[in-house]
């Protein structure tokens, strides 16, 4: 296909604004799949994506569009996720594109991830086609969305496409706009090969499969190639495009996008953002590459029963084959035994990984409360990263501690300003911006300690605004902070897995609240359980769970002994899911109790 017939674009938007549904309609309209092969959000292929109705991983498809004007075009379309945890998926996709479809829900208007993702697209200098979606809904207000696009985002919107991905409205017009308004790629096919590696995954039959966009030169089956960042050589075994079914081709020329199989055995032999070139005639100007994605939140993952440790290790190994953004490292907890400290992109990512481990690998897991990474700077100037509160123990000569800050953007109806200012004040936020996006809709920007977000910020934001606020954040910097470690003791014994780091001004309330929550979550046992929250040797709060004194079903159960036994078996199964710490049995939820504290009681 000639370069001027190619259009490479991503679909970007806030969560749930309809990217994947729009992708469905484009696949259908171009005949990528037939009607009987379709299902809703067909590109969301993981079980978890389908169950939750969200996109987690970006998906690329190659579509063939016959324009009514007679021309024939190849569309490389990438459907991206909207959730903030997966922003990285968006940015690596954009590097392979010349344009984006910026989808905005006509009933909701601009939301936090609309802005964040648009900013990414602008950074890449991409052409933008605004698509105002869901115009079929009675509450749709496309005019106001247009105004917001122009006034707030300085996006030309008079020729925005009005669409309903659900009803198939505006799809023909959109396809023409893609041809006309997104420029074709421009690389020189005669130069040495310069190829962007923008996605990679592991397939148990084929090994590593990578997605590439040829920027300059051309790539053919049989070529000896070099992955420049990792310095590894391979031979191209197979090239092809996903339509969405895989279709083999023999070569790619500059501007083309597709998959490559090259006998790459492990995912860590590839690096997203790397430049692929020919061994014989390498390019002298590799692409700039991407910043590494760094896990933002950490949590301990422990098998509920010790004999599943090996299983968990294997599961993590396999899972990271396909999700390089998860990090893991063995750790030991005196309360929980052997487990792993894992790093995630955010809380949703953490939840999804946990669920995949449990489901796909049948490990029963106990997760400790998520924490951000703190820095300790010693008097000798050494910097130590703390991704587990227990690691603070034993560090001597602490000069100061620093905590990560993020820039948070909140968009919401103005009537909630008061409530949100209260919430962000409680969370130690510093307001840096307030702007009206439209009459009645405001954007607030804050510098917020990241640990305040990890502890249940999003749910509170939603409940304080009856679901109307959207939120986005990005990492800002580390700032010196007065931090302390809050410990929990059960019957006088410190439970390391319940320790957490928090700001000194908040520790007293948090300690009290946490002790109370634990009291609610730890069931009564046959002996008394004393819960204490302490900083160092200073006890801040104390709660007592009274011993169970009577637990006897006096009922006569006639002959239905089966029923009684089954009942007990069920109870027992629940009990087995608890973790025994010392003599005390603790249910899994208790380890996450801190997520349900409000630090205000």
């Amino acid at each position: 296909m000639k370069q001027n017939q190619i259009r490479n674009f991503s679909i970007i938007a806030h969560i749930d604004h309809g990217k994947s549904t729009l992708a469905d309609k484009l696949i259908l309209a171009t005949g990528g799949l037939e009607k009987r092969q379709m299902k809703d959000q067909v590109l969301d292929s993981m079980d978890l994506e389908r169950e939750r109705g969200i996109t987690i991983k970006a998906q690329t498809v190659n579509l063939r569009y016959k324009s009514p004007n007679g021309g024939e075009y190849g569309f490389n379309m990438i459907d991206t996720p909207g959730h903030v945890d997966f922003t990285y998926e968006v940015s690596r996709s954009l590097a392979a594109c010349e344009g984006v479809l910026l989808v905005v829900d006509a009933t909701q208007g601009i939301q936090a991830q609309t802005i964040a993702n648009l900013n990414l697209a602008m950074k890449h200098n991409l052409s933008i086609i605004p698509v105002i979606n869901k115009v079929d809904l009675p509450s749709a207000n496309p005019d106001s969305v247009k105004e917001q696009l122009e006034d707030v985002l300085q996006v030309e919107a008079h020729d925005a496409i009005l669409a309903s991905a659900k009803e198939g409205i505006g799809i023909d017009e959109l396809m023409e706009a893609i041809v006309e308004r997104i420029p074709p790629p421009v690389g020189d096919a005669d130069k040495p090969l310069k190829c962007l590696l923008f996605d990679a995954w592991y397939d148990s039959y084929r090994g590593v499969i990578v997605l590439v966009k040829v920027v300059e030169g051309s790539l053919a089956v049989g070529d000896a190639i070099l992955l420049m960042a990792t310095g590894r050589n391979f031979v191209v075994e197979e090239l092809g495009i996903l339509t969405p079914r895989a279709k083999q081709v023999t070569s790619f020329k500059a501007g083309e996008v597709g998959y490559m199989i090259a006998n790459i055995k492990e995912l860590d032999q590839t690096k997203i953002g790397d430049t692929v070139t020919h061994v014989a005639q390498p390019t002298d100007a590799p692409l700039p590459g991407y910043k590494d994605v760094k896990p933002m939140v950490f949590s301990g993952l422990y098998p509920i029963s010790g004999d599943q440790y090996e299983l968990l290790r294997d599961a993590l190994k396999k899972l990271t084959l396909n999700d390089a953004s998860v990090s893991y490292e063995a750790e030991t907890s005196s309360a929980l035994g052997f487990g792993f400290r894992c790093g995630f992109l955010g809380l949703l990512h953490m939840e999804i990984v946990r669920e995949r481990l449990e489901r796909e690998y049948n490990v029963e897991l106990l997760t400790t409360a998520p924490t951000v990474v703190y820095k300790v700077i010693t008097t000798s100037g050494e910097v130590i990263h703390i991704d587990n509160p227990s690691k603070l123990k034993g560090i001597k000569n602490v000069d100061r501690m620093e905590e990560p800050y993020v820039r948070g953007t909140i968009i919401m109806p103005e009537e909630y300003i008061g409530a949100i200012m209260g919430l962000t004040r409680d969370r130690r936020g510093i307001q840096t911006k307030m702007e009206y996006l439209a009459p009645g809709t405001v954007l607030l920007e804050y510098h917020l300690p990241f640990n305040e977000i990890v502890l249940d910020f999003y749910d509170r934001l939603k409940s304080n605004t009856r679901g109307y606020a959207s939120f986005d954040y990005e990492f800002l910097d580390f700032r010196a902070s007065n931090l302390v470690k809050l410990d929990i003791l059960l019957n006088g014994e410190l439970v390391d897995a319940l320790s957490l780091i928090c700001h000194k001004d908040k520790v007293y309330f948090l300690g009290r609240d946490l002790a109370k929550k634990l009291k609610e979550q730890i069931p009564r046992q046959m002996y008394e359980v004393v819960i204490q929250a302490a900083v160092g040797t200073k006890v801040l709060a104390r709660e007592t769970i009274k011993a169970l004194r009577k637990n006897v079903l006096a009922k006569c159960y006639g002959g239905d002994i089966t029923r009684k036994r089954k009942l007990l078996e069920k109870q027992k199964a629940g009990k087995k899911k608890m973790k025994q710490v010392g003599k005390v049995e603790i249910p899994q939820e208790a380890f996450l109790a801190v997520l349900r504290t409000d630090g205000k009681s």
């Binding site: 079903l553 006096a554 006639g558 002959g559």
Partner: protein, 379 residues
């Protein structure tokens, strides 16, 4: 010769009590007329299930309220049982009754038909409490029922009382116990009110219209009961049961010793040859199935050794004298210590069980925590 307990379920009551989750349905004369012949044919089938070599040591006709059936039907039932089963000469034959079904001459006829033990559902001697429980009899009828039974010659009589009712105190319950004892029953069962799913109480409780007694109150009433009954010379032989010496309910002992039993009638359960089974519960369906196939079993399971052991402990630990370890080992051909050693150590450590050479039983502390203790033996 092996012996066995026989249970017959009569699934009808005049009115469903608020707390009741037994298999009990509103009386329905037309259906009951079809029910009796169906039950008789299931008895025929049941007799073939247990075979010639088992002797019936106990019969328990329960419900529901068996005395909602006409006396004539009960007589037919009893004579049919005698024809079909080999009843031991000293068989214990119990029938449950409810003061609301008291009728002149009823108890004489039952005695004549061979019933030798009567279990009367009294539950309370307080009019307000009876109303709360939705019992449809009066305090006076309770007294009359017991007196009429005794006058008819029932010298093995049991009463049921319930405690820990909303608002009840240990003092009030003590008075009920004293009233009961004044009637000189041979046996007394006291049941702690529990709230079961699919009952009127469950819904009321969920809506906040029914407050359960606090745990401390329940415990106080239970302890009160133990004191009163001991003082009156009754033996506390099972968690909820007391008797004059030698007057244990032999039929229930079969359950607690995890022995074999055959259950007939809607929802009745059986345990024969290591297999547990249960009939379908709905009377109409029961009648249909028995008429079509002679039986009405809807559930059956063969127990794995570990399950059977768990059940043996679950049931046996309810008896104050507990379980004989040699009998357990002979039955399961395994060492008790080998299977439960770690569990035993933990429980002994917490002083929840007593262990002597050959018996394991709940300790006085474990008695109040029986469910938690038993849970330790379940896998």
């Amino acid at each position: 010769m092996k012996s066995i307990g026989l249970y017959i379920h009569i699934p009808y009551c005049l009115h469903k009590c608020g707390y009741c989750d037994f298999n009990s349905h509103a009386v329905d004369p037309a259906e009951m007329e079809r029910f009796v012949p169906a039950l008789l044919s299931e008895i025929d089938h049941g007799a073939t299930r247990i075979g010639e070599e088992r002797e019936v040591a106990t019969v328990f006709i329960g419900g529901g309220t068996p005395t909602t059936l006409p006396p004539q039907a009960l007589e037919t039932l009893l004579s049919h049982l005698r024809q079909r089963f080999r009843l031991a000469g000293d068989a214990e034959i119990t029938l449950e009754t409810n003061p609301a079904t008291l009728a002149p001459g009823l108890f004489e006829r039952l005695r004549e038909a061979g019933v030798n033990r009567l279990s009367v559902g009294i539950q309370s001697f307080d009019a307000g409490e009876l109303k709360l429980l939705e019992r449809v009899h009066s305090v006076a009828e309770a007294h009359e029922t017991v007196k009429a039974a005794q006058a008819a010659g029932f010298y093995n009589l049991s009463m049921d009382l319930m405690f820990a009712l909303p608002g009840q105190t240990a003092r009030r319950f003590r008075k009920h116990l004293e009233t009961a004892l004044a009637l000189r029953p041979e046996h007394l069962s006291t049941y702690n009110l529990t709230i079961e799913k699919n009952t009127a109480f469950y819904n009321m409780h969920r809506r906040g219209q029914l407050a359960m007694a606090a745990e401390e109150e329940q415990l106080a009433q239970y302890q009160e009961t133990l004191g009163v009954m001991a003082g009156a010379g009754y033996e506390h032989y099972e968690i909820s049961n007391f008797c004059r010496p030698g007057r244990e309910c032999r039929h229930n002992l079969i359950y607690w010793n995890n022995g074999e039993h055959l259950g007939l009638g809607p929802g009745a359960s059986s345990y024969l040859g290591g297999v547990r089974s249960r009939n379908c519960k709905l009377p109409a369906r029961y009648i249909r199935e028995v008429n079509a196939t002679g039986r009405a079993i809807e559930f059956e399971e063969t127990l794995k050794p570990r399950e059977a052991m768990g059940e043996t402990l679950m049931l046996g630990l309810r008896l104050l004298k507990g379980i004989a370890i040699d009998a357990f080992e002979a039955r399961f051909k395994t060492s008790f210590r080998e299977v439960y050693g770690k569990t035993l150590d933990g429980l002994l450590d917490q002083n929840l069980i007593q262990l002597d050479d050959n018996r394991i039983a709940l300790s006085p502390k474990g008695l109040f925590l029986a469910d938690s203790v038993i849970l330790e033996f379940i896998t």
